[in-house]
Point group: C2
Chain length 225, copies 2
DNA sequence: TATGCGACTTGAACGTGTTCAAAACTTTGC
DNA sequence: GCAAAGTTTTGAACACGTTCAAGTCGCATA
């Protein structure tokens, strides 16, 4: 995960510098928000020159992409215990979604800026872009794990598209959360509870052999998008 | 619509200057894209000092908000003829959606940037923000016109929420269009054709008295979001 | 006509993200 | 051990969005 997306880390020392900059950046982001965290501030606090930060991260946005990676790791770690233990689909999905929001929590105030950047179709941070393909794959992979390792009997055709659908769903939840100003994001958690319930039911219904035709047409529509 | 959102136009001369800056900005935006169109370039081409542009538009983003206004006017003008003539809901909605994409067409290359800015929950351009409330209202108003002046017999409770739902739907289409790189945005037009068809059917079904309970619960869910 | 006031206009200055040529350091080949 | 090649680090410089103190203009009132 800590791979050199910038492709410019050949030395052990370089690796360390890169890590130091990233670590400092996360701190400053958390403390000052997105605009408050100037590249100069980050570089200074990390004890390197301004230009050096740009040697390891092409832009401020790329710094954020690395930040995403860290978040994903954290999210994985938070989910892992339950995913190892629980086999029922609904609680698995519920846990993944809740853990995600909890992981994101400290960054809510500037998650909006993140989203803003990610929303730009030309930005490397756009979740649909080629450049963030690895991050997206990893994320989808998590949802694949959620469904494949569950005890639910899900038909093959659905199984192949379901992780992507759930990934889209989780993007929607994040979008909601970003705009959710209720205390402790109670509304987001409520939305998660309800929507997971609905999704669980939908999957059961769609898995019914009688539903194969409807399921197929829905999957075809999905595939086109 | 050409109201002074910045609140600083009291003279006829001021009005003219403001209009000149806006007009020039649109040109430069179309020619150079969002980042290419620097405030300096706009000001220079408009024959005013840099600071003067900021006298009339608090920021580059506010300039874009005014730009939205212009687009909306254009869109309205494009729809009007058919809306005056046609009373059937499906072609009305279809025309509104197609005309929107056609109006947006010249700006596709930098519509992404627009969207990026608009996506920031803290930006005044965010379609959900207070500041863009008037623009949003106007837009929703258009959809209200689409349904109220149609010949479809739509129940009251649905009628009150439907314009907002359609507005959300149209936001989704725009989002798709921004990412649509197919030639002439054929995929977007196809999506519009299909989704309008589905929506039309859904409205018919939901308007059936037998469906009032399901309809009510769906409307309640909408209202909560 | 002179004077004052408010609307408009100016451009220098600030802080930002980003670039880049050059310096400093490290490794490699001999 | 030393030069060359590669890697990392530096900080000055650039263009941009934005701010602001100071200036100009038009016009109503004395």
């Amino acid at each position: 995960m800590t791979k050199a997306r910038t492709g410019l880390v050949k030395t052990d020392k370089g690796q360390q510098t890169r890590a130091a900059i990233l670590k400092t950046a996360l701190e400053v982001f958390r403390e000052q928000g997105y605009e408050g965290a100037t590249m100069r501030a980050i570089a200074e606090r990390a004890g390197v020159a301004l230009g050096n930060a740009y040697y390891y991260f092409h832009s401020k946005e790329h710094l954020i992409q690395a930040f995403y990676g860290e978040l994903h790791e954290e999210h994985l770690a938070a989910c892992a215990p339950l995913l190892d233990r629980e086999r029922d689909l609904k609680p698995r999905l519920l846990e993944v979604m809740r853990a995600m929001i909890k992981t994101l929590e400290p960054y809510h105030q500037f998650a909006g800026k993140l989203f803003k950047i990610a929303a730009d179709p030309h930005s490397p941070l756009n979740p649909f872009s080629d450049e963030s393909d690895p991050a997206r794959r990893q994320s989808i992979e998590l949802f694949r794990e959620v469904v494949t390792d569950s005890s639910a009997g899900i038909p093959k055709d659905l199984m192949s598209e379901l992780p992507y659908m759930l990934w889209l769903y989780h993007m929607g939840i994040v979008l909601f959360w970003i705009h959710d100003s209720s205390s402790s994001h109670a509304r987001t958690y409520r939305l998660i509870d309800r929507s997971v319930q609905i999704i669980d039911k939908l999957i059961r219904v769609a898995s019914n052999p009688l539903m194969s035709r409807l399921r197929k047409s829905a999957i075809r529509l999905m595939a086109e998008l």
